[in-house]
């Protein structure tokens, strides 16, 4: 009962994001659409505005935004595997690496294809690798799957290091940029005097992919994110999305209801790998060189943290989680040596105070509320107060909403 009495402060925090969401879904459709467009436009001009506080001192803000957008793309893809289908994947970086290396091999190492031509090939290769990994391993459940995928990620990385054909530890360079189409110059804002001034000496060419200016790469990544998010919404709301959810909650029950769970899990793996491949190819073309160092297990773990931090199963949660995981360490580069420590502490605090993630899926929130109400009725207290205790009183009671991704 101590949970219910200590509850009110936690409630207000929950309501900050939850209330915002409720207000959003209460708006008419056209207003929602306009708001989305406005947010998207804001994201596009963000690197030009370089607003104080948000902008990163010391490192190129456009470059940081590009990194963040790659993480967002990866998190959205991994969210399909972990959040929707409930398959704990610790080797996602493997697909990311395969995407990047396919581009590298085709454009620089063994052929000189243009980037645009190598992209679809890279995506097909990653998707096939997803199926090839999934076909034998998806019979294994829960935490065993986690460790098999972890093994896969490491096998990919070690093979990259050991294979001369793939450039070994030196990696591959130079990877070409996407084709440019220089149309006009866009000026940046200058905040150095305290008031925003348009600075015509510092401009970005629309659209020229160069080594010096990462902003066009960021625009490209943002466009791809929007496309992937739209596709993600269509899939999640379709029969496939429901099949994933059923599989995640109870695989045997789903199978009995006629859901070919294996096939849908494989599909989740393939689609997840596909999105990871997009992110990898983008990363490769922006970096112009890749080596196995960029594809360590630690990166896999960061990707997974992004999804879980944001709230697995919710695409916007994944986006927010990725922004947190990728942006915060860059913002606080001034504290260079302390940032990993602080990141670790942040993960621990988040796990304790926000166990469902920053933005849990609507259904989880709803199920929790109902549960808390039942619980409160049983002990005879106001249901309103009990809503907050919604960590789920015991693991067993929380079972229906518990993202049973690692259920053995």
């Amino acid at each position: 009962m101590s949970q219910t009495t200590s509850a009110p402060p936690r409630r207000s925090r929950r309501d900050l994001l939850g209330g915002l969401r409720r207000r959003l879904s209460g708006m008419p459709r056209w207003a929602q659409f306009l708001l989305m467009v406005a947010i998207a436009l804001l994201c596009y001009v963000l690197p030009l505005l370089e607003p104080p506080i948000i902008s990163t001192p010391g490192t190129d803000f456009g470059g940081v935004l590009f990194t963040v957008s790659v993480y967002v793309l990866v998190a959205v893809g991994l969210n399909i595997v972990v959040g929707y289908a409930g398959l704990l994947d610790l080797g996602y970086v493997g697909f990311y690496a395969i995407g990047a290396y396919t581009v590298g091999v085709l454009t620089a190492q063994h052929a000189t294809w243009p980037w645009l031509l190598s992209l679809p090939v890279a995506l097909v290769v990653t998707m096939v690798s997803g199926v090839l990994l999934g076909w034998p391993t998806l019979r294994v459940r829960g935490d065993y799957l986690a460790i098999v995928t972890l093994g896969f990620g490491e096998i990919v990385r070690l093979t990259l290091i050991n294979s001369e054909w793939l450039g070994a530890a030196r990696g591959i360079r130079p990877i070409p940029s996407p084709p440019s189409l220089p149309l006009f110059e866009v000026p940046h804002l200058d905040w150095s005097t305290g008031v925003p001034l348009v600075d015509f000496s510092d401009t970005t060419t629309f659209i020229e992919f160069g080594v010096t200016d990462p902003i066009p790469f960021y625009w490209l990544a943002l466009t791809l994110i929007i496309l992937v998010l739209l596709a993600d919404k269509r899939i999640k709301d379709s029969r496939v999305g429901r099949a994933w959810e059923a599989t995640r909650e109870d695989e045997d029950a789903a199978e009995l209801m006629g859901v070919p769970t294996f096939r849908f899990k494989l599909l989740a793996f393939a689609i997840g790998a596909f999105v990871g491949g997009i992110a990898g190819s983008l990363f490769a073309t922006r970096q112009t060189f890749i080596n196995p160092e960029s594809f360590t297990l630690l990166i896999s773990i960061l990707f997974l943290s992004a999804v879980v931090v944001g709230g697995q199963g919710n695409r916007w949660g994944a986006v927010i989680g990725a922004v947190v995981v990728a942006y915060l360490p860059e913002r606080f580069r001034g504290f260079e040596q302390w940032r990993v420590l602080v990141f670790g502490l942040a993960l621990m605090l988040l796990a304790i105070y926000r166990p469902q993630g920053l933005l849990p899926p609507r259904r989880t929130v709803r199920a929790q509320r109902m549960e808390a109400e039942t619980e409160a009725l049983e002990v005879g207290e106001e249901p309103e107060d009990a809503v907050i205790a919604a960590g789920g009183p015991t693991p067993d009671d929380a079972a229906p909403t518990d993202e049973g991704s690692s259920r053995g």
């Binding site: 093994g151 490491e154 070690l158 773990i301 670790g344 993202e403 690692s406």
Partner: protein, 331 residues
């Protein structure tokens, strides 16, 4: 492929594999016990081990052992070092349970979030070790601590002499006293842990909680205590493994736990996670396979061999070699 080389060097590779395998197995026990009781991948267990390696070196400095120490003095100082390493690792493991897991368990958080907490704790622990110099100077005690906090991001070596005497030869390979000590010590420790779980009252408590936490608590088992005990035993064994590892490898670093942790967890899964004897089998199989594999394909493929083996075994035995849970172990 170097079949001839493997045939020639078979005993050497095999013994080397056994030595590494016993270290893996000792660490794997910590993973497997926590998993058996909580169904949780204790990702930070590798850092518990890492603290043990540092404790070993520092303890040797404290007792004044150096490259000239030999004979009884060397054995005694190593024994003290192992004891201190076990206490340190056990302490870190208890702290970990208190700070990173218990708050989550009380709130009934979903299982994946506990993994995130563990990952966070793992970052924090390894960075604390890597930043010990900076921390000490922030507190103004870096002069007092001296070499204990100097060059905190660099490798730290075992101060004692690491040439070992050959005890007997098997098919042309000299088995050293170090090999014997490591394998025997690991085996002894594992038998002790196994018997503790199977025969004692506390061990019965652990098995009961692993089988069914709710019924166990209804029967009067204090599950918080049991979880603490599980972490403590895992920590003690990791500390012992740390000293043995330092004997074998001789170097440690603030991030040395990571690879060992991954390997040990692989060993635990290989044997069947949640199964004590599985951890032993898994560790030894992994160690030997990776050693023979590195002989066959070249040492750079060593880790690949380990992971491919894992994937292949899980395909044919999806719950590991011995695939039996801690709760189902017979008394």
């Amino acid at each position: 492929m170097a079949f001839q080389y493997v045939l020639d060097q078979f005993v050497s590779l095999f013994v080397g594999g056994l030595v590494f395998g016993s270290v893996y197995a000792l660490i794997a026990l910590g993973y497997t016990m926590v998993y058996g009781v909580l169904q949780l991948i204790n990702f930070a267990h590798s850092e518990v081990f890492m603290f043990g390696t540092f404790a070993t070196v520092w303890a040797l400095w404290l007792v004044g052992a150096d490259a000239t120490t030999a004979g009884v003095a060397l054995v005694a100082s190593l024994a003290v070092a192992m004891l201190i390493a076990m206490i340190t690792s056990g302490g870190v493991a208890l702290l970990l349970e208190r700070v990173a897991y218990r708050p989550l368990l009380n709130r009934g958080a979903p299982r994946l979030i506990a993994l995130i907490s563990a990952i966070g704790a793992s970052f924090v622990l390894s960075e604390l070790m890597g930043l010990r110099g900076a921390l000490a100077s922030a507190l103004g005690v870096d002069d007092v601590l001296g070499r204990y906090v100097a060059r905190s991001r660099e490798n730290l070596g075992l101060p004692t002499d690491r040439t070992f005497t050959v005890q007997f030869e098997v098919l042309g390979y000299g088995v050293t006293n170090k090999d014997i000590i490591i394998v025997l010590a690991a085996l002894l420790m594992m038998i002790a842990a196994d018997q503790f779980i199977r025969r004692t009252r506390l061990g019965r408590g652990i098995r009961a909680v692993a089988q069914d936490p709710e019924s166990a608590s209804l029967m009067g088992v204090n599950s918080t205590r049991v979880i603490q005990l599980t972490f403590l035993i895992g920590g003690l064994l990791a500390g012992a493994a740390a000293t043995l590892y330092m004997l074998q490898v001789g170097l440690t670093r603030y991030n040395a736990g990571f690879l060992l942790g991954v390997k040990a967890f692989t060993a635990a899964v290989l044997g069947g996670i949640g199964n004590l004897r599985g951890a032993l089998v898994g560790g030894l199989v992994l160690g030997v396979a990776e050693s023979l594999g590195s002989g066959l394909f070249g040492s750079e493929w060593r880790h690949v061999v380990a992971f491919v083996l894992l994937v292949v075994i899980l395909l044919f035995r999806p719950t590991g070699l011995l695939g039996e849970s801690l709760g189902k172990a017979r008394a």
